[in-house]
């Protein structure tokens, strides 16, 4: 069985409360619940299978994880008991500056050790399986390993799974000029547990992840290939804008059901 669902956003709460048939699971952003809102979290947990997704644990920052962020993250996990938790293969801060958003890591042996150790720390603290997500970046990072070898070894060394953001894979392939299907074939299918997808945007010849557009046909074709290739357990539609058109969001989820149904 593959769960199809949505990234929970407060702007969608009324629609989600109406229990739309298309929404079969929810992904909670941990930082959105750092300030509390416990009743809401518990109510969602009682209604839907949940996954907790982090934005700011900054697993790629050398040194120990930030204890305050980790404590708050674990607090959210304890309150909603998700099936698994996820974070990004990225850094958002260093010892000098909090950049606040995701930045790429160099696929190197040294970074592999840092990231695998931090993924294990997160899993131990949460007592949940951890999935790690590929990001999109304007910077193409070269290291002493290929990106796909890095991801395979990361999953094996850290005992974690991959949250494959199909949109990010598509965007990087267009911006950096590589074949996303060849990239996919280099990833061990057993590592791919969950997917993210949302339509991309194009600006001045550059592709961007604005999380605001319906899924384009070429992206949907790539999703079909991923779903045929790997034993995906969940697909999350990751919209961060244009929430007013819930009919469109429901239609997007139906399209995802259709892809899974064809497998």
């Amino acid at each position: 069985m593959t769960w199809i669902g949505l990234g929970y956003r407060h702007a969608l709460s009324r629609w989600i409360d109406s229990r739309p048939a298309e929404v079969r699971c929810l992904e909670i952003t941990a930082e959105h619940f750092f300030e509390g809102d416990d009743d809401r979290l518990e109510s969602l947990a009682s209604e839907y299978p949940l996954f907790v997704h982090g934005l700011g644990v900054s697993l790629g920052t050398p040194g120990p994880l930030d204890p305050e962020t980790l404590q708050r993250f674990v607090g959210v996990v304890k309150r909603c008991n998700p099936k698994w938790v996820s974070e990004h293969i990225a850094f958002t801060r260093t010892a000098d500056v909090d950049l606040g958003h995701l930045n790429p890591l160099r696929p190197s042996r040294a970074m592999l050790r840092t990231l695998a150790a931090h993924a294990r720390d997160l899993s131990d603290a949460c007592r949940k399986p951890v999935l790690l997500e590929n990001i999109t970046s304007h910077l193409r990072m070269d290291g002493d390993m290929s990106e796909t070898a890095f991801l395979n070894e990361l999953c094996s060394d850290a005992g974690c799974g991959l949250l494959l953001d199909v949109t990010n894979l598509y965007i990087n392939s267009r911006n950096h000029g590589f074949d996303p299907r060849a990239w996919l074939q280099e990833i061990e299918p057993r590592h791919i547990v969950q997917l993210h997808i949302v339509g991309y945007s194009e600006n001045d010849g550059h592709f961007e992840d604005t999380h605001a557009e319906p899924i384009q046909d070429d992206l949907l074709e790539l999703l079909k290939d991923v779903v045929s290739y790997a034993p995906v357990q969940a697909i999350i539609l990751e919209r961060d804008a244009k929430f007013e058109n819930t009919a469109e969001i429901a239609f997007e989820l139906q399209k995802l059901e259709g892809v899974v149904g064809q497998r």
Partner: protein, 171 residues
């Protein structure tokens, strides 16, 4: 050679436009002055300038988009809010999980210091959310209503530790 790793060096470059400009002209000298370690030195000096600039701009645009959502009234009131924000943003990076609200409050203070008119009631509400006060009362001339802005007393209070509320008494 120093002990600064690749990720820390990249963070410095992404957060500091002046450093990126110097780096574009003298990569090795800048990397040396940053104290980049021998292991990561070549990787840092081979960073693509244009891609670095695009990534840095993407970070600022994401901050701008978050702050625009928190300050819709102020953004409508001022000319070229995006340009003003970008001038402000690179010098001050907010920290922690409340960074977007912090960013918005700091941007308002930057505008106030430049004597640019902002929506005070919007600023008061955001600043109160970040402070520990239980109650604040402000006399303001820009409380938004369905029929435009009105003068009145803006009363902000804290229901619980993390939950704030507000109402207004109009003059």
């Amino acid at each position: 050679m120093g002990s600064v790793d690749f990720t820390t060096a990249l963070g410095k470059l992404l957060s500091d436009g002046e450093m990126r400009r110097v780096f574009a002209q003298d990569r090795r000298g800048t990397a040396q002055r940053m104290g980049v370690s021998a292991d990561d030195f070549e990787a840092v000096v081979s960073l693509d300038n244009q891609a670095l600039e695009r990534q840095a701009n993407a970070l600022l645009k994401k901050r701008l988009s978050e702050v625009r959502e928190l300050l819709p009234l102020t953004f409508r009131m001022i000319d070229d809010p995006g340009v003003l924000f970008l001038n402000f943003a690179e010098a001050k990076w907010p920290t922690g999980h409340r960074r977007h609200a912090q960013d918005a409050v700091h941007f308002c203070r930057y505008l106030i210091a430049k004597k640019i008119k902002i929506c005070r009631s919007e600023y008061n509400r955001l600043a109160f959310g970040l402070e520990g006060k239980r109650l604040a009362i402000h006399a303001v001339g820009d409380i938004p209503t369905s029929r435009g802005f009105r003068f009145g007393l803006q009363i902000l209070y804290r229901r619980h530790q993390r939950e704030t509320a507000h109402f207004a008494i109009y003059c």
